[in-house]
């Protein structure tokens, strides 16, 4: 959730490959309760700045390509406390969502420009340019692509000086649970990077809990 700043950016081109069709794998590191921590780069032309960020997954509905959770930004200069937001994610699964956003002021060109910043997207590019990736088989692909959109501030008012107008293009690595993302907001600095690693919160190894809605 960066500060509002003017920006400009340029597209890039990459070649790609093929596949068949399906949905992303269930990955045990992308499940409810999982925590991730790292940084959000909020640098602009004037200065370099990064916030520490913690993310926790709260909800997951693969059938509908839906994910949600909270994002906590620490050491935010204009805030007295960590700032927590609630976000909802769209999982690019060729069934519910494609690589093309179709909203939030993101054009197909913006989409390609951001997805190609992830090396793991390269093999998929040509198919995505052809049909948005609808015919892609992502079931055995070890990366999950998502868009995360913050919906509201949990613990501060909207006058906190921060914006949640944009959204993140996100790439999740199934093998080690690392997350990379780029914030997109036409009114903010471009390509503000989110880098998170799966957190084991003081344990040696990974612990998993779950709930079941009735």
């Amino acid at each position: 959730m960066p500060v509002r700043v003017a920006e400009s950016s340029a597209p890039s081109q990459v070649s790609g490959a093929h596949s068949e069709e399906s949905s992303p794998p269930i990955c045990s590191l992308l499940t409810v309760g999982q925590a991730f921590s790292g940084t959000q780069n909020v640098s602009n032309l004037q200065k370099e700045e990064a916030w520490r960020v913690n993310v926790r997954i709260q909800g997951c509905d693969l059938e509908h390509g839906y994910l949600c959770g909270t994002m906590e930004a620490l050491n935010v200069p204009m805030a007295d406390t960590p700032v927590v937001t609630f976000w909802e994610g769209e999982i690019v699964d060729a069934k519910n969502y494609t690589f093309y956003t179709g909203k939030w002021e993101a054009t197909p060109e913006d989409d390609i420009r951001h997805w190609t910043k992830f090396p793991s997207f390269a093999p998929l590019l040509s198919r995505v340019e052809a049909d948005g990736g609808k015919s892609l088989d992502l079931s055995n692909y070890p990366y999950i692509f998502m868009r995360w959109k913050e919906q509201y501030f949990v613990n501060v008012g909207t006058d906190c000086g921060l914006t949640i107008a944009g959204f993140y293009y996100v790439c999740f690595s199934c093998s080690d649970g690392s997350i990379n993302g780029f914030y997109y907001d036409p009114n903010s600095s471009p390509f503000q990077k989110l880098e998170l690693k799966c957190a084991n919160e003081g344990r040696s190894g990974f612990s998993f809990s779950s709930y079941e809605l009735q």
Partner: protein
């Protein structure tokens, strides 16, 4: 000056009528029958009074005598009176049975149903003159009996019964054919019976009755629905040149001017669609059905009461139908009816259940409900006198609280909702308790710090009490709620819950006779030991009885869901300190009786990828490179054959398993090569 009371007058009149019923004079008897019929028609109180005076057996006796007295050789005048007596006594008995369960019971006890059938409806009648009148009277009366659940089951498997039924259906009289249809609606329950009726060709006749009188149409719609209900085989055999015509005919009737007929036609189509979804796929028809049922809610009577139940059966479990219904403002329309207040309990229940179905899968419906403030009315309904309404309100709340977005915002964890819900945990009705547990299970998945509200209001005490219930459904649902409550709970919250639960109760629930209870108990422990590292200590309370119970269950369980939860418990404990990891090793290396190898090997080879994943995670956590004792544990795992099994999984078909195995192998290789 004393005056006689109304009931005394009634008794006097009643006794007078009954006295005249016993007269030897047929004229007197006939007149008394007519008077009795006029007294009781549409009058429940008088039916009850005459019932108490023994009217039913008396009239049944008269009918029996009259049937025996039918004599071909007798003169026309006597014949006419006997026939009239049969008609009137059948009418009286039918009237007693009409919408009056005590009356039905009395009529059946007197064997009057059999009397009427034999006396009025068997084909061989000595005189044809007033045949139809008798047949009609008998048919009308039997129909009233067959509208009651208490009516005897008609045995379709008996050939002569089937023949008799067909003769009724083929009769021109709407009362007689209507009786045939009523018998089907009442008694056809099994798929075998449905098949028998279908094979006997009743559908053809029923279809032709769709073009008959109102009575025939309604009766036929009900019967057709009964024959098709939940029977895809019969529906698929329905395919043929006649199908399109019948379906079109029923679709037309959905627009009938009579509300009850519209409802019955809708129900018929719903039954066909639910049994065989390949029919009635057209969006136009689906929308027509939805709109028809939503409009029928406006009917002030029983049709309006039942319309919401029909709506539920149309949309339940079907996201596409729920979406269509949402698009025609279904949520708003249901809400508008709810707002009317002072609803008949049946109607209230139906609308709440319809809303529950609307919100079961779609977030847009839940959001709409929340924005309309439906919850205010739903929460009020939690305290309704009718247990069915209370149950339905809980189900509605359960559906709406599937909204993770709102659970995250803590929208439900407030006193207005929690207090009445917690109260229902003590409800006299088990069904209400179970329904309340369902709603609570969702509401306690709260990501704010408001779980303490639930604890403070006594929720945990009640849940723990219910987890000890003799009723396994209650135990299971209480545990589900506790499991969800403990998910990501704060330390203080966990402590309070654990103190209430106790280690010994948890250990016994892990070994519960019901597998699904075992599964939930293990899932609860899994959540309990997650979170801050000191949470792992809970499993060691009371000399480690919980850990022992987990290990024991893993060694004997055969259900994947139990094994998965159990493995995650051990896997979670294995992320703790050295002593925790060693305790997990002890459990894993303990053999079950007659088993040559550790249970984890069986899990690594499971067909269920979730179980394989859980097992690999446990191995990963035990051999975590940052832990000093990992190399020693790796040797033991190797000696137990576990490491080689993991190595064999390098090309597992499940990506998640494959990736964990890859990490495990990298981890193994990071130790001294000579170890493995």
């Amino acid at each position: 000056m004393p005056t006689t009371t109304a009931s005394a007058v009634c008794t006097t009149v009643g006794n007078n009528i009954l006295l005249r019923l016993t007269s030897g004079e047929r004229d007197v008897k006939l007149k008394a029958l007519r008077e009795l019929k006029n007294q009781i028609i549409g009058n429940r109180t008088k039916k009850l009074s005459f019932l108490k005076l023994g009217a039913v057996p008396a009239v049944a006796g008269i009918l029996s005598d009259a049937v025996s007295a039918v004599d071909v050789a007798d003169n026309d005048e006597n014949d006419r009176i006997v026939k009239d007596i049969i008609v009137q006594s059948a009418a009286v008995l039918g009237s007693f049975a009409c919408g009056f369960e005590a009356g039905v019971r009395a009529v059946l006890d007197a064997g009057a149903d059999i009397l009427i059938q034999r006396g009025c409806l068997v084909e061989e009648m000595p005189l044809l003159k007033s045949y139809m009148e008798v047949v009609d009277a008998g048919a009308r009366s039997l129909k009233m009996i067959y509208q009651s659940k208490m009516a005897p089951k008609y045995d379709f498997l008996q050939e002569e019964n089937m023949e008799f039924l067909l003769s009724l259906l083929n009769n021109e009289s709407e009362n007689v054919s209507g009786l045939g249809a009523s018998i089907i609606s009442h008694s056809c329950k099994t798929s075998l019976e449905q098949k028998l009726l279908f094979d006997a060709g009743v559908l053809k006749r029923l279809t032709s009755l769709l073009g008959g009188s109102l009575i025939q149409r309604d009766a036929s719609l009900e019967s057709i629905a009964t024959i098709f209900k939940n029977n895809p085989e019969v529906v698929s055999q329905f395919v043929g040149p006649d199908t399109g015509r019948t379906l079109s005919c029923i679709i037309e009737i959905v627009k009938d001017r009579f509300a009850r007929t519209r409802l019955l036609a809708s129900l018929c189509l719903i039954v066909i669609r639910n049994a065989s979804p390949c029919y009635l796929q057209d969006v136009g028809i689906k929308t027509k059905l939805i709109n028809n049922l939503l409009e029928l809610l406006d009917d002030p009577g029983r049709v309006g009461d039942e319309a919401s139940f029909a709506f539920s059966s149309l949309i339940a479990e079907k996201e596409d139908m729920q979406k269509l219904a949402f698009e025609v403002n279904g949520v708003d329309k249901l809400y508008n009816h709810l707002q009317k207040g002072s609803l008949h309990p049946r109607r209230f229940e139906g609308i709440l259940l319809a809303l529950a179905d609307m919100c079961s899968k779609l977030e847009c419906c839940r959001s709409r409900c929340l924005s309309l403030q439906v919850l205010k009315l739903v929460v009020d309904a939690l305290a309704h006198d009718s247990s069915d309404v209370r149950s339905a309100a809980c189900m509605c709340l359960r559906s709406v609280s599937r909204s993770i977005k709102n659970l995250s915002a803590g929208s439900f964890m407030n006193e207005t909702i929690v207090i009445p819900l917690v109260r229902l945990l003590d409800d006299t009705s088990t069904a209400v308790q179970v329904a309340a547990l369902g709603a609570i299970s969702n509401i306690v998945v709260d990501f704010t710090t408001r779980r303490s509200t639930f604890i403070r209001l006594g929720g945990v005490k009640l849940l723990v009490q219910l987890s000890k219930s003799m009723d396994s459904t209650i135990r299971l649902n209480a545990l589900r709620a506790l499991r969800n409550l403990i998910f990501l709970a704060e330390d203080k919250c966990k402590e309070e819950i654990f103190m209430e639960l106790t280690a010994s109760l948890l250990a016994s629930l892990i070994c519960d006779p019901e597998p699904s209870v075992q599964e939930q108990a293990l899932a609860l422990v899994r959540n309990l030991v997650d979170g801050r590292i000191n949470s792992v200590e809970y499993i060691f309370a009371e000399d480690g009885i919980i850990l022992d119970a987990v290990g024991r269950q893993l060694r004997i369980a055969s259900k994947a869901e139990i094994e998965i939860q159990g493995m995650y418990v051990l896997g979670n404990v294995a992320t703790g300190k050295e002593s925790h990891k060693e305790a997990v090793m002890d459990q894993l290396l303990l053999r079950a009786e007659n088993k040559a190898q550790s249970c984890i090997i069986k899990f690594l080879q499971s067909n269920d990828s979730r179980l394989r994943t859980a097992a690999v995670w446990a191995v990963l956590n035990l051999t975590c490179s940052s832990s000093p004792g990992s190399s020693g544990r790796l040797v033991k795992l190797h000696d137990a054959g576990i490491v080689s099994h993991v190595k064999n999984m390098v090309n597992d078909p499940c990506l998640d398993v494959k990736l964990r195995v890859k990490t495990a192998l990298e981890q193994f290789n990071s130790f001294d090569d000579s170890l493995v």
